[in-house]
């Protein structure tokens, strides 16, 4: 990303920011008018934004194609589930588990990344895919003879975020205003998401971020310029995984239920699609991609069945199938017609649309 020096932001920018802040603050109440489900959907959009930004570090900044990213989400989710539910009878508070989840996911990131350092594009993709599947299979089967993960049934009754007696899952008044459970989560998530966004922006505009982009552009030249590509790549995996782990822990708490089903290859692909759709490496684009890919399917779900009923008198395709078909077609179509994503950074757009003229 080309840095632009802005010494003093003009007042117009501040006004715009203020507007956005107000809009975001009021959003959950507007959404609640259509039903609490929509507030939950907003919350999901934010969780996925965190996930997509994490993957963006690996795929977008460093150019490492990771098809098994959901494994880190799973690690975070299960760590939370195991440490804050009746399953083992442990009930640690969320502010203890979140760093633990992030930390463990980080370790997994390094473990999964380490063997892949010498691999080229496609092979890296397949190996990471394999890792993701292995984790899912273990989660699904570690219920006998020793029950660790409770297998396909998953773990439920997971504790929500709680401080003393103030629980985020229950509706209740705060400072005199009534908030529903999802609405309370909304603000916490908003804060966390903003933190994640800021951290990502800082990472991109740093010595480390530049090192990642150097590796993506030309690994041989990056090494020649003194970059320790092994460590830098591992850092990409580690950072990406950490964000995934945090998102996973939050997912666990808001859903209050986890099962291996939510962590398959398909989910990995959805997150990848968010990054690709939004424009790899481009933070605003990735946020847009995440929000779109969370909201659109829900919109489809609410409109497809009534629409089919109106048009055909019966439902030919259930909402889930429609959603998936549209998703698959969208992937193909975007790659054919807008490969740089819907809102690409100028960088990626040039890279993907003009044929490379490197005399190699």
């Amino acid at each position: 990303m080309t840095k632009r020096r802005v010494k003093r932001a003009p007042p117009k920018v501040w006004a715009g920011v203020a507007l956005i802040v107000v809009a975001l603050a009021l959003l959950p109440f507007v959404a609640a008018l259509a039903g609490q489900a929509w507030v939950r959907i907003l919350n999901f959009a934010m969780i996925y934004t965190m996930l997509a930004l994490g993957l963006n570090i690996v795929v977008g900044f460093a150019g490492l194609l990771d098809l098994g990213y959901i494994a880190f989400y799973a690690v975070g989710a299960y760590v939370y589930a195991l440490l804050a539910s009746p399953h083992f009878g442990i009930h640690l508070p969320f502010w203890v588990i979140l760093p633990l989840g992030a930390g463990l996911a980080c370790i997994f990131g390094v473990l999964l990344g380490a063997p892949t350092l010498k691999l080229r594009g496609d092979y890296l993709a397949i190996v990471t895919l394999g890792f993701g599947e292995i984790i899912r299979i273990f989660l699904n089967n570690l219920n006998a003879p020793v029950n660790i993960t409770n297998g396909p049934q998953g773990i439920n009754l997971i504790d929500p975020f709680r401080i003393g007696s103030f629980s985020l899952a229950r509706a209740g008044p705060v400072l005199g205003i009534d908030f529903s459970g999802p609405q309370k989560y909304y603000y916490v998530l908003l804060l966390l998401t903003i933190c994640v966004i800021v951290i990502n922006i800082r990472l991109q505009n740093s010595r480390l971020g530049r090192a990642w982009e150097a590796i993506r552009e030309d690994e041989v030249a990056a090494k020649a310029m003194g970059i320790n590509t092994r460590n830098v790549k591992l850092l990409a995996f580690a950072m990406g995984a950490s964000f995934g782990g945090i998102a996973g822990a939050i997912f666990s708490a808001t859903q209050q239920f986890v099962s291996p089903e939510s962590f398959g290859l398909f989910e990995s692909i959805i997150v990848l699609a968010m990054v690709v759709l939004g424009g790899m490496g481009n933070i605003p684009g990735v946020i847009l991609g995440a929000v779109m890919l969370t909201l659109l399917p829900e919109v489809l779900r609410y409109t497809m069945e009534p629409l089919q009923l109106a048009l055909f008198g019966r439902v030919l395709l259930d909402a889930e199938t429609v959603r998936l078909l549209v998703f698959g077609i969208a992937l193909v179509a975007i790659m054919l017609y807008r490969p740089a994503g819907l809102w690409p950074s100028a960088v990626r757009k040039r890279e993907l649309e003009t044929p490379k003229v490197v005399a190699e």
Partner: protein, 331 residues
């Protein structure tokens, strides 16, 4: 010992199927460097289509022998699979031939999702069973059993593989394919129509996939819209194991992977038996006592993990595969 032989026989059968599917992956990767993610789905469609045709023919109660019914089913399946593969290549992959690696990979994933869900729409969510028209007779073989269905699968696969090798080594099309795999630009300059060659690779792969689909259908008796994913991934592992881009490698890799999986699934229970350990919890001790001291940490439900482990190990330690060439990179 009988278990060993039995597992090897089972593995050989499964491996033959893997080999047929792996050939599709390796041909396409060898020529255009694309991992055709959607290939597993083509196998699934082959299985489903043949199932539908066979069921329909049986329903029509025509006085045809079983073999003919199955052959008709196979024939239709091959036609459908070829059409799908050809269209996929033309619509989704050909325009992206010059694009950076990520684009065709994502497109392939997209196609895989489309095919899966199209199958879901057509054939529904439930497991579909193959009508009980085949009654495999078991034969004794050194203490283990091999049914004639298993023998048939192994032999048919071998014949098809031999035929493919013949085509690739002895015909003009085969030579064109080998040339294009080596250097597409120069092959084009020498008058080879790259598009025909690439389409041929997809078409041949799809035909083999259809046969593999029917084999899986008859062997396991069930088909499901999601079966292509795992099968495809394992077949790809087989192709990589043998050396991607190498036909003999795909065959060897397929058979080897089948045997590894079968042996693994067969023995993992024994290997991970924890009843021998001194430090067991009470509930575990109970379980051991109740099951004749056979409580395994990992059972055959971990079977799929073997393929992935093989894949990862091969790609890390010997990325060129068993029969592949070692390519050194000149800066």
């Amino acid at each position: 010992m009988e278990i060993l032989l039995q597992q090897i026989i089972n593995g050989l059968t499964l491996g033959s199927v893997y080999a047929l599917v792996a050939l599709g992956y390796t041909m396409v990767y060898g020529i255009i460097g694309l991992i055709n993610f959607a290939h597993g789905e083509v196998v699934m469609i082959g299985a489903m289509v043949s199932l539908s045709v066979v069921t329909a023919l049986l329903g029509a109660q025509l006085p045809l022998p079983t073999a003919v019914i199955i052959l008709v089913g196979l024939f239709v399946a091959i036609l459908v699979c070829i059409t799908i593969a050809y269209s996929m290549e033309k619509i989704a992959y050909r325009p992206l031939r010059k694009a950076p690696r990520l684009a065709p990979l994502i497109t392939a994933i997209g196609m895989s999702i489309i095919l899966q869900n199209a199958a879901l729409v057509v054939w529904g969510r439930n497991y579909r069973t193959f009508p009980p028209i085949i009654h495999p007779t078991p034969h004794e073989l050194l203490g283990a059993t091999m049914t004639d269905l298993q023998m048939f699968i192994v032999v048919l696969a071998a014949i098809l593989m031999a035929a493919l090798l013949f085509v690739v080594q002895r015909t003009r099309l085969g030579m064109a394919m080998r040339a294009t795999a080596q250097n597409p630009q120069v092959a084009g300059l020498m008058g080879i129509d790259i598009n025909v060659v690439i389409s041929a690779a997809f078409v041949i792969g799809a035909a083999l996939a259809a046969v593999a689909g029917l084999m899986v259908m008859t062997y396991y008796g069930i088909a499901h819209y999601y079966m292509g994913f795992l099968l495809g991934l394992k077949a790809f592992t087989a192709a990589v194991l043998g050396g991607i881009g190498n036909l003999a490698g795909a065959m060897l890799g397929g058979i080897l992977l089948g045997i590894i999986e079968a042996l693994g699934a067969g023995y993992i229970g024994d290997v991970s038996n924890i009843c021998g350990f001194p430090w067991l919890s009470d509930s575990l001790r109970e379980q051991c006592a109740a099951s004749d001291n056979q409580v395994s940490m990992f059972g055959s439900n971990y079977q799929d993990v073997f393929a992935f482990f093989v894949l990862i190990l091969v790609l890390i330690f010997r990325p060129s595969g068993l029969l592949g060439e070692r390519v050194s990179e000149r800066a």
